[in-house]
């Protein structure tokens, strides 16, 4: 079969179950939006909090650095510490301008038998840690819920089109061609949903930024909200949808 004809058949499929198509795209877009927002908040929570507290720490955030030596200065500087000073007892003290990735750096230090510590900030570092973990977990849970929803919708659609599939096989259509046509049917729906979700997230981020700017004069970089990040989420989703589709396709045969 010619590729243009495959596409023609894919688009003909959208005539069946019009309402179901719209609901499916809408639902997927909604959950994608929530997932991306949760991931974004999770990634950005450290920057939001440090931005919020920045006026109280105009000299930067000071940390006591246990277990480091002079040789470690380049590594510490790479991690964002500056003005590092060593005391006679071997401990050091250093400043950072923000709390980006602070618990990640702390965990790395602890794994090496060292520590990065500030009595005042320790509680906040913990909040950041649990906040990021919680939002990340929520995002993953929502993502799994969405995959489950997509899986059900694929299985329902394949059931609805069972007679058509048998007709096509009877007419001599290769199984692999039918499979690629139906995979495209579901993949295009999800791609559309992702695009809608990205637009929705862009609007949300804009609104959140405007709000944060008004109340605390900071704006989120949302570094993760970049083309590479979106393409990454899109690719991972399509791969997962492919495996979901494969499972349902085999279950049918």
């Amino acid at each position: 079969m010619k590729n243009s004809d495959k596409l023609r058949l894919v688009f003909r499929e959208y005539r069946f179950g019009c309402l179901e198509n719209i609901i499916s795209v809408g639902l997927q877009a909604l959950i994608f939006t929530i997932v991306i927002l949760l991931f974004t908040v999770s990634f950005e929570l450290d920057d939001v909090l440090s931005g919020y507290m920045a006026p109280m720490y105009s000299h930067g955030y000071g940390f006591t650095l246990f277990g480091y030596s002079q040789d470690d200065i380049p590594e510490l500087e790479k991690q964002g510490f500056r003005d590092i000073e060593f005391y006679e007892n071997g401990d050091a003290y250093g400043y950072r301008d923000n709390l980006s990735d602070i618990w990640f750096i702390k965990i790395l230090a602890i794994m090496d038998g060292r520590d990065i510590w500030n009595s005042e900030l320790d509680e906040i570092v913990n909040y950041i840690f649990f906040g990021q973990i919680t939002f990340l977990a929520l995002g993953v849970v929502m993502f799994i819920i969405m995959l489950n929803n997509i899986s059900n919708s694929i299985s329902m659609r394949l059931m609805l089109r069972e007679k058509y599939l048998r007709m096509m096989s009877g007419l001599g259509c290769r199984k692999s061609i039918l499979r690629s046509i139906f995979f495209m049917v579901f993949a295009f729906r999800s791609i559309l949903a992702i695009l809608v979700a990205v637009a929705a997230v862009a609007v949300c981020v804009d609104k959140i930024n405007a709000y944060l700017h008004r109340i605390m004069l900071i704006s989120l970089g949302f570094s993760c909200f970049s083309p590479a990040y979106i393409i990454g989420i899109g690719l991972i989703s399509i791969v997962l949808i492919f495996f979901t589709f494969e499972r349902q396709w085999r279950a049918r045969a």
Binding site: M1, K2, S4, D5, R8, L9, R12, R15, F16, K163, Y164, R166, M167, M168, S169, G170, L171, G172, C173, R174, K175, S176, I177
Partner: protein, 225 residues
Amino acid sequence: MIIAENVSKKFMDSDREIWPVNKLSINVESGRFFSIVGRSGSGKSTLLKILGGLLEPTDGKVVIDGKDIYSLSRNEIADYRNQVIGFVFQDYFLEEMYTVYQNVEIALMIAGVDKKDRAQRVEAALEAVELGDKKSSLVKNLSGGEKQRVSIARAIVNNASIIFADEPCGNLDWENSQNVMRLLRKQCDAGKTVVLITHSLDDAKLTDEIITLKDGSIIEHEKLR
């Protein structure tokens, strides 16, 4: 020429074996019109599917024009069905939401025929079944007789040399049945092999050879012409 040698098919019904086709051999000569008759459950549809490359037999082989079709790969069998064989079924097997044209065209799409070459061939096939003026109608709006003629058009559009029809008149009234029989005869006169399953002895008498099945075996093979 279709040669079935000692074909058998086994199905499992819970833990009981059923052999709807049992050590059956038959030669279907090219260019002739065959009918298969027999009581319900005698294995007619199962035999037709085996002969048409839709159902692999448990034992035996089917040789069409010198090719043992079940020794081919799955893709090769599919291509073979598309290019050499046309099917017509009692319940039409059409896509109701497609137009008449699209239903016939799909067989050509599967064959990889260019879009610009399709129009002429689809129209010729629809002319042959006297549906030239219905090509843009949705199939769901057609009568049973018209639907069956669409499925005949689809079976012949690829220039299949063999047409298998499983009770094509089962849902049709007398007049529409006569029409379908006439169209199948026309295909046979044009050099195609036609194999028809029917419950009507009147229809069977219009064919060249009548094969009677009982319990998955041939009990009579009568040549009329």
